[in-house]
Subunit: 147 residues, 2 copies
DNA sequence: TCTATATGCAATTCACCAAGGCCGAAGAAT
DNA sequence: ATTCTTCGGCCTTGGTGAATTGCATATAGA
C-alpha cells in the first residue's frame, strides 16, 4: 500500500518537462541525469504516458519527449493513473462481485469514502501548481533578497 | 498500493468480536468459519493485535479472543496500524533523508496532504460505528416490515 | 550513411504476500 | 494429575509483482 518507483519516477519526469515548458523537446538522457532516474526504466514509464496522451514522443536525433497539453490542463491524478491504472484501496471497490459479503460490508463503505478523500487531492492539483510550488520552495530565502 | 489480505482479514475478525460485545470470548475457529478466513493466517494477525493491546487472548478450553477495550474506543486506524505498521504513501514522508531532494520536493508536500485526508477517515470511525453501519445495512428492508 | 533517440519484447533478480504445518506452552475442566 | 482445547512461535513453501537490465528494431536528423 505504497507508491511505486514507477509513480515516483514518472511524476518527477513529467514535472521536469512541465518545468521546461510545454513545447521544449527533452531527451530521456537529460531527465534521467537531472532527476537521478534509471534511464531504461524511465523509458518504459514514458511509453505508458505517451500512449495515454499525456506526453508526445519525438524520435531521432534531437528527439525526446514533450507534454501533449499545457501543464495547467494535466492533473496529478492523470499522470498517476496513466502509470499504474486506476487506484483502489481494495479490489472490491471497483468490483463488488469479488467479495460475497460486499452487499452488507460496512468497511467497503468506509474505504470508498477514504479513497475519495485521497483522490480529491490529486484531482485538484495540476502540474502547473506543483511546478509553482517547487519553484517557490527552492527559491532563495525571502529574508535577505540579494541587492 | 492496495490493502493486504492481512488488513482485510484482521478488520473482519475484529469486527466480528466487536459485534458480539466487548467481553465475549470467541475462538479463532468460529471467526474463521463465520467470515471465511484461513484460520492459521488469522491466528498470526491476531497475535499482532494482542501484542498491540487491541485484543486480549485467552488460552485453554473455551478460550479465544476478546476486545481489550470497548468498541467505541478503538478506531479503524488503530487496527490497521497494529497489523501493517504506520501507513505512508511514500518512504520519504516519515523519513525525509531517504531522498536527497526532499527539501524542495513539491510532490512530497502533496503526498503529505493526501495521506492526511485518507487517515482522517480511519481516525474518525470506531469499531462501534462500523458495527452499527453493518447492522443497518443487513437489516430487513424498511419497505415491507414483516407483520 | 552514421548517429542519436525512442519502441518493443524478453529476461532477471529480489522482496514480500499468502498460506500451511508442526510442535510447544498455557489454561480450564474433570 | 491428566486430558483436552486453544493460542504461540518458528519454519517452509508457492506465487506474484516490483524494479530493473539487455537486445534488436524503427525513425529522424546531419
Amino acid at each position: 500500500m505504497q507508491f511505486t518507483k514507477a509513480e515516483e519516477y514518472g511524476m518527477q519526469g513529467v514535472l521536469h518537462l512541465a518545468d521546461k515548458g510545454k513545447d521544449v523537446v527533452t531527451p530521456l538522457s537529460e531527465i534521467s541525469e537531472a532527476r537521478d532516474i534509471p534511464e531504461k526504466f524511465l523509458a518504459k514509464i514514458f511509453q505508458s504516458l505517451s500512449r495515454s496522451g499525456i506526453l508526445r514522443s519525438h524520435r531521432g536525433v534531437r528527439g525526446g519527449f514533450t507534454l501533449a497539453k499545457p501543464p495547467g490542463e494535466i492533473t496529478v491524478k492523470d499522470v498517476l493513473e496513466a502509470i499504474q491504472g486506476p487506484y483502489h484501496l481494495t479490489k472490491c471497490i471497483p468490483d463488488p462481485d469479488s467479495c460475497p459479503r460486499s452487499d452488507s460490508c460496512a468497511m467497503r463503505e468506509l474505504l470508498v469514502t477514504a479513497e475519495e478523500r485521497l483522490l480529491e487531492v490529486f484531482v485538484k492539483h495540476t502540474l502547473e501548481d506543483v511546478v509553482h510550488m517547487e519553484r517557490s520552495m527552492s527559491a532563495p530565502s525571502p529574508e535577505k533578497p540579494n541587492p
